[in-house]
């Protein structure tokens, strides 16, 4: 039970950290200044979620090991775990590609996160519920912003439509994993600690269809779902993020600002 709770908290944290890291790659590269600021502000919100989840995961781990020194911290969880220890969904680690792919990924994930946190704020675990309640307000805004962009690009110029259509094809194989329960999620469901993500898919599709209709985009059918991320089996792209993100702590252990 405790082990599952730690894994689940890390899964939620890793999703947020890796997505924040990916979006932040746009810093100083956004298509125009306002959108550069928007995507980096969104990254900051999501990084804040990651910090809250990591702090809680660290607390759970330290309680279970009962150690007095060499305590696990939010930083050690972010910087010192290896590829196989990360439990994020594959979707969030994929390369940004162009603006259309980045926006579409954020829309797919914000739509999912909105439903996930709506459920999680009623978790029996008070801390997970509190983090979800807090983050939900921000995610609502991310969903709104990314929805508008999906519509703008889909129903925009020939080029923008073509680019986001390519993005839909590239990202769809990674949507299915969001709704497949990992063992730790199933375990926690019995106690109402986690959210049954498999039950969120219909609502997610409803919202996606509404936005795609406006954007003149089609939802791909019968796409094979790539999985593994939630169990620690990642695409090679995660390795590159970690190499960059963890470099400083690996090269200069315990260095601080």
């Amino acid at each position: 039970m405790n082990d599952s709770l730690t894994k689940y908290t890390l899964h939620l944290a890793d999703n947020a950290l890796i997505l924040a890291q990916r979006n932040s790659e746009w810093c100083a590269h956004g298509p125009i200044l306002e959108q550069d600021i928007a995507i980096t502000n969104i990254s900051l919100d999501i990084l804040g979620q990651a910090r809250n989840f990591y702090q809680y995961a660290a607390e759970l781990i330290n309680q279970s090991t009962n150690q007095q020194d060499n305590l696990i911290t939010e930083d050690s969880l972010a910087y010192l775990r290896d590829n196989r220890d990360f439990k994020n969904c594959l979707l969030v680690e994929l390369e940004n590609g162009d603006w259309a792919k980045t926006i579409l990924r954020l829309f797919i994930f914000s739509n999912y996160q909105y439903l996930l946190y709506t459920g999680l704020q009623h978790s029996k675990d008070e801390q997970l519920a509190a983090i979800a309640e807090k983050a939900l307000k921000e995610v609502t805004y991310h969903l709104q912003w990314s929805s508008e962009w999906v519509i703008r690009l889909g129903d925009g110029t020939e080029e923008s439509h073509q680019r986001i259509t390519v993005a839909v094809e590239a990202l769809w194989p990674y949507v299915g994993e969001l709704f497949i329960l990992a063992d730790y999620e199933s375990e926690l469901l019995k106690e109402n600690f986690s959210v049954d993500v498999s039950s969120l898919q219909n609502k997610w599709l409803e919202k996606t269809s509404a936005i795609f209709d406006e954007a003149t985009l089609k939802i791909p059918q019968n796409v094979f779902a790539q999985t593994g991320g939630k169990q620690g089996i990642h695409t090679e792209q995660l390795g590159y993020i970690l190499a960059e993100m963890q470099f400083l702590q690996r090269a200069y252990p315990n260095s601080i600002w």
């Binding site: 969104i42 900051l44 519920a129 509190a130 807090k134 939900l136 921000e138 609502t140 805004y141 709104q144």
Partner: protein, 168 residues
């Protein structure tokens, strides 16, 4: 011990009025509504409960440090600052005085959240008043301004751009 009896919660709240938001220096943390509780244990020992505005707001670390400095200056040596997430902060907790200060500073204060921020009214646009000329004839430029808590608007009457403190 006699000292402890004289220090009231009201006194602490008025001391904390001097701690301001580093990004919006006209607002005190009391105006912002982020101080949720004060527990005075003795003339030296105090516990302050605060709640973050935005999950990733970098100003929160500075605010915690400023609270600590302010209380140290006022004779407290044993200071605990506790962060709580629930109930989640809302701009409805911002004081009326705070909203007036924001407007005078050139930032449009947040609308009341029930009007526009519920998921049911998800894609409705807000009527935001220009802090310079009071016109409602304004236009959203970007949903994110200089910080996560602000959006960028333009007034179609006086033509001035301005920040709007988003309702949250």
């Amino acid at each position: 011990m006699t000292d402890a009896l004289i220090i009231t919660k009201e006194k602490i709240f008025s001391i904390l009025e001097s701690v301001t938001d580093p990004e919006v220096p006209v607002l005190s943390i009391i105006d912002l509504g982020i101080v949720r509780d004060v527990e005075i244990e003795s003339s030296h020992k105090i516990k302050i409960t605060i709640t973050p505005t935005y999950t990733g707001c970098p100003a929160m670390d500075v605010i915690s440090m400023s609270i600590r400095m302010c209380l140290l200056e006022n004779g407290f040596t044993d200071i605990t600052i506790k962060n709580v997430l629930s109930p989640a902060w809302t701009t409805d907790w911002m004081s009326e005085v705070g909203k007036q200060k924001l407007k005078a500073y050139g930032i449009a204060p947040p609308n009341v959240s029930q009007q526009v921020c519920t998921p049911a009214l998800f894609q409705k646009d807000e009527a935001v008043q220009c802090p310079h000329c009071n016109s409602y004839h304004t236009q959203l430029i970007s949903r994110f301004g200089s910080t996560a808590c602000k959006a960028l608007y333009k007034c179609n009457d006086c033509k001035e751009p301005f920040d709007y403190f988003k309702c949250h």
